[in-house]
């Protein structure tokens, strides 16, 4: 199994999509830290008060904000794209076939690919944290929510695993990486719309909408906000259930599917 994971890792890190993910993971914290650093020294005002008195500025705060930007803008699309390239596209271009004509089970193939992808996401998170913390600490100081930063990045690893599970499951349905990204983003949009609709119903007095919201996938995928000190145990439980469920479905489909 170790050999398979290493082999998948070598292939993955040569993909342009994976290299793009790592490059963006390094650029985002640089941009975020520069914006924060410039804001910390500016005379801009917010609601009549100097902006440096309203917001906190430090290395850990830069890492926190960078993680937010990563999750909000970059991570879902890139993870789905890389996962789609690694599974759906390989199914379409016969590379899965070339692996499976060896005495390797489909379970082993799935585990090797998921762990290689998880390794890539973990590296991306490490880059995000290291760049933001080092630049931010040198520029703005080190006083800040260090424990939340570490906890947030740690939980993000499992959030990433949830996204990989979604990507792998979609890859067993579609034969192109692009379709995996599009369908994944549609699922996010549908989930957000459902979430907003339930919030609206709750706002106008309909009872019990919170319970339904707890089961939406986004509740789990937002589990990384543990760093903000919010109540997240149900989010983590949701994340575990969705991740296991999607991996189970992906395994079931992969085991049964004809490999072209």
């Amino acid at each position: 199994m170790k050999n398979l994971i290493q082999a998948e890792w070598r292939v993955l890190t040569k993909r342009s999509a994976a290299r793009g993910l790592l490059l963006v993971s390094a650029l985002v914290p640089v941009l975020v830290t520069v914006v924060l650093g410039l804001a910390s020294g500016s005379e801009m005002e917010f609601n009549g008060r100097p902006i440096r008195e309203v917001f906190s500025f430090s290395g850990p705060h830069a890492a926190t904000l960078s993680l937010r930007v990563r999750h909000a803008l970059i991570l879902p699309m890139f993870v789905l794209f890389v996962t789609g390239a690694s599974v759906a596209s390989e199914r379409a271009n016969h590379m899965l076939r070339e692996r499976l004509v060896r005495a390797v089970s489909r379970d082993a193939l799935l585990v090797a690919k998921v762990l290689a992808l998880l390794g890539l996401c973990s590296l991306s998170l490490a880059i995000n944290a290291l760049v933001a913390l080092s630049l931010g600490t040198v520029w703005m100081g080190a006083e800040g929510p260090w424990s939340s930063v570490f906890l947030g990045h740690f939980v993000s690893v499992w959030t990433d695993l949830g996204l990989i599970a979604l990507g792998v499951f979609l890859s067993t349905i579609f034969r192109s990486g692009a379709m995996v990204v599009v369908s994944g983003l549609l699922i996010f949009l549908f989930d957000q719309a459902l979430n907003a609709g339930l919030s609206l119903l709750g706002f106008i007095g309909v009872g019990g909408t919170d319970a339904y919201q707890m089961f939406l996938p986004s509740t789990g995928w937002n589990a990384w906000v543990v760093m903000l000190g919010e109540e997240v145990w149900f989010s983590i439980l949701n994340l575990i259930l969705w991740t296991i469920g999607l991996l189970f479905l992906a395994r079931h489909r992969l085991t049964k599917m004809d490999v072209p």
């Binding site: 082999a7 076939r97 004509v101």
Partner: protein, 232 residues
């Protein structure tokens, strides 16, 4: 059919919807034999090979390789090349082989020797995207040879090759069979090639094995008769 046979299929069938692509294919390939698998386009040759390799589930029947039935374990001693071989175009030829070696659980130290055997050693570090079709076929063959398999299953291995390449592949395969005792199961359209290389042939037509014989005599006449002149 004996338990010691290299490859045995019993009543192998596969339907795609209402269409039977493969019907009750029963054959036995003996160890050390070079078995030619012939048939017109769409006869079911690739479907049979994909069933044997566990890439698709058969609708009926059994497959056994060196006495092993399990779809994964029976591939332990098999090297295969199915249709046009696929590669990661962004990797070099040798890197592609290293990936397969990892999946085969084989050390990468022997890869240069395999690349030399197929005449690609001097291009081993070039990206596969720069390879010609014939070079890709050679690399596919090299990949099938990883781990010194006891059974080679090759689907149209000389597709896209020039006459020199075809001759090289023929000599390589015959050498493997004669010197290492490798069993070879090869599908091809090239009757002359099959006749020079194989010891026995099976002819498939519309999913069923319609003829099985040695390669002596007029193979073309037998082939045309067995396939009822479908492929002119």
């Amino acid at each position: 059919m004996k338990a010691s046979d290299a490859l045995v299929t019993i009543g192998l069938g596969r339907n795609f919807g209402q269409r039977a692509a493969l019907r009750e294919l029963s054959l036995a390939v003996r160890p050390g034999e070079v078995y030619g698998f012939l048939g017109p386009n769409g006869a079911g040759k690739t479907t049979a090979i994909r069933c044997i390799l566990g890439l698709i589930s058969p609708s009926a029947g059994q497959v056994s390789i060196f006495g092993e039935d399990d779809p994964v374990q029976r591939l332990r001693h098999v090297g295969a090349m199915v249709e046009t071989p696929a590669f990661h175009a962004f990797l070099s030829g040798k890197e592609n082989l290293a990936l397969s070696a990892a999946y085969a659980g084989v050390d990468v130290s022997g890869l240069d020797g395999i690349l030399d055997e197929v005449g690609l050693l001097d291009r081993a570090h070039d990206r596969v995207s720069d390879y010609s079709l014939g070079m890709r076929q050679r690399l596919g063959l090299a990949r099938a040879l990883i781990g010194q398999p006891r059974l080679l299953i090759l689907d149209e291995p000389t597709n896209g090759m020039d006459p020199r390449g075809i001759k090289d592949v023929r000599e390589l395969l015959v050498g493997l069979a004669e010197q290492r005792g490798t069993t070879i199961f090869i599908s091809s359209h090239l009757l002359a090639e099959v006749q020079q290389m194989c010891t026995r042939v099976g002819i498939l037509d519309r999913g069923a094995l319609v003829s099985e014989s040695g390669v002596d005599g007029d193979l073309e006449a037998r082939y045309l008769a067995a396939t009822q002149g479908i492929e002119s």
